[in-house]
Every structure is written in structure tokens, then in C-alpha cells.
Symmetry: C2
Subunit: 202 residues, 2 copies
Amino acid sequence: MPRRADPQRIARKKDEIAVAAGRLFATNGFERTSVAQVAAAAGTSTASVFYYFSDKAALFRAVFERDLPTAEALVGRYADAEAPVPAILDMLSQLAEDAADPAASGMLVELLRRVDHDPELLAVVMRTAEVIREGLATLIARGIADGDIDAELEPAGTATWLQAVVDATYLNASPGHSPLPELRRTALGYLAPRWKEETKTP
Amino acid sequence: MPRRADPQRIARKKDEIAVAAGRLFATNGFERTSVAQVAAAAGTSTASVFYYFSDKAALFRAVFERDLPTAEALVGRYADAEAPVPAILDMLSQLAEDAADPAASGMLVELLRRVDHDPELLAVVMRTAEVIREGLATLIARGIADGDIDAELEPAGTATWLQAVVDATYLNASPGHSPLPELRRTALGYLAPRWKEETKTP
DNA sequence: GTCTATATTTAGATAGAC
DNA sequence: GTCTATCTAAATATAGAC
């Protein structure tokens, strides 16, 4: 089918394979998805898949390599926000946006599993997570300076925890139920400066 | 090695196999763990493993079947607590207790993955989760009645969300760092009755 | 009940023609 | 670059002796 070495077309094909793979990995899992299935879904052969990707693990990584630019754009969008707390809430909401989609939920779980066994994959996702963490931490520090966020909190650690809460949002996913209210209330309650006593001591 | 049909001994052996399996599944994952590895770790043969468990999936389920009694005991322990909010915090802390252990974290991820593909496993863990959810929901309702928890909250949904936050604790796990402070602060901030305005509107 | 040995199946990866 | 055909390895599950 190649008319010539058309770089546009081959890049598109590589992408199509990655997308098909992502869908299957998300629903069936990494090990339970065969390369043959991916090839069929992409309308090609296993040999072609291996022509574009060195091995099955690389195919999985490809799904996440597209996330870095998205994360950078997101962070950039809120970097100069006047009010840090609403900016944080909006960033978290964006991050949790796909949580209702069961495929996204499945893919997160799959990622968490594979990341322990694939150092290259770890590097890919760490870079993305790091971008988001720094974006959040910066906003948190500004919120503290403004007095809108509890000064007891440590920005980097707090950012990490908020990312974990976003992940929880995916785990808690159920179709037809938006997790955003819980997420926003959780973040607000966590960040808010504390009053005299937390509760009567137990 | 059998002196007779000693029911004590065979029950213990079944248990030992399940424990060995749990360790391996947690660190290496379900598919990447062979029954041969489990057998070796338990000091026996694959045939013996299949004598005790109908198949590999049953072996995985066995790991979680032991959780139900534990959950029931936990709920029972706090059912009659005088102060609901501290009781909730303590329950959550207990649930998050293993979060520092990387094996527990790995096992949670593995569970989330398998539960989509094994209805019997789903039934097992749903029963356990349901017990905890009801225990929490009851305490939340009492806290609302006492005025210590925001009356806007719906007990069952709130309980579910708190369980998700506990899961977040496992995802956020890193050795040497206890997740309990974040967890407690999150729960407290989430449950607390709200003041006049949450924040200046964005 | 426990083992050794093996049947069976499946999937990742490659060879080599076109 | 793309295919068909296949090699190779591994793992679940079972057979059957002890």
C-alpha cells in the first residue's frame, strides 16, 4: 500500500496503532491483550506493529507519551492566575475530567501496575507528573502567601497528595456520577486555614 | 508426608499457599506470577497447588477472602463509639494502616485490575467493602445528628468517597512516610460543617 | 495428598517474500 | 513497509504413579 515513503502517512499509522492499543489495554489489560488483537483493531498485521514499536512494552508507553504536552499546556494555563485557590480547584477538575470514562479508569490502574516493571515507562510518567506537581506547588505557595491556604502546609507534599486524590477520583468512578463535587470539597477542606481547635480531643 | 488425613495440617497448608501467592502477586502481578513460582515459594509442587485451588483465579481470590472477618471486627469495634468523628478518623487510619507497605499497595492495584475480569472476585470484595461502607455511613449519620458533620452530606455517598480517599493513601505510598496525617486532615476538612462562604466566588 | 512428567495452548517476536 | 508463515518459550492444567 505504500505510494512512497510518505512520512505523514506513516506517522498517522503509528498513531492509529497506539490509539487502538490504548483502547484494548484499558478494557482488557496489558497481558490479556495480544499484539494480534491490536493489529486486528488497527487493521494491520502483528509484523507491522513490531515494525513500528520495538516490543509490546514500547507500545504501551506510546499511549502515555502524548500526555506530557497536555500537562504542560494545563499548567501554563493557570500559571499566572490571580486567585490561586480557584486556579487549583480548576486544575484538579481538569485532571479529573476523564474520570467518568471507564476506559480512563482502567488505563490508570493498568499504568500503576506496569510502572513498577518498566523503568522507561516510569520515566515517561514521572516527567508528566512532575510538571503537574510543580504547577500545583507554585500555586499552593502563592495561596499561602495570600493567606488563603494554611501556612502549616508544605507545598510540594501537598501537591503530591492532591494528585493522589485525583487518582482516587478515577478509582471511585461510576458511570453517570461526576466526581467533581467531592473533589472540590476535599481540596477546599484540605487547604483551608484551620480554626482554633480541630475538634474536641478524642 | 501425610501422617493421616489431618484436617488441621491441610488447612494450614492451604493457607500457606495463599499467603505465598499473595506476596508474589503483590510484587510481580497476577499474570507475571506463575503457579510454579507460588508452588516453589510454598515449598510444594504445582499439582499440589491445583489440588487445593481449582484454578489460578481461585488462588487469587483466596487472598481476599480473609478480609471479610477483619472488616467486620473493625466495624464492630467502633459501632458504639460515643464520638462519631474521632471514631471515623480511627477507622480510616486502621484501613490505611498497611499503606506504607509497598506489597499492600501493589496488591490493591492488582485487585482493581482483576476485579473487572472475575465476577466471583468482585462478589468477594464487594461484600467486604459493603460492610465497611455501612459502618462508616452509620457513624456519619450520627455525626450529622450531633452537629459535628455537615448536614449537607449524604452518609452513604460520603462513606464511599472516604473509602476512595483511603485507596488514594495506598497509591501515594512511599516507604518511610506515613499517610495518616494527610488522611486525617482530608477527612476532617471534608466532613466539617461549612462556614458562611466557601471562598470568594471565582 | 503429593509428586514427576507432560499435554495443550497461546502469544511474543522474527524470517523472508513481495 | 507490509504481509504470511512460523519459531520458540512459557505457563496452565492434568495424568497417573506412589
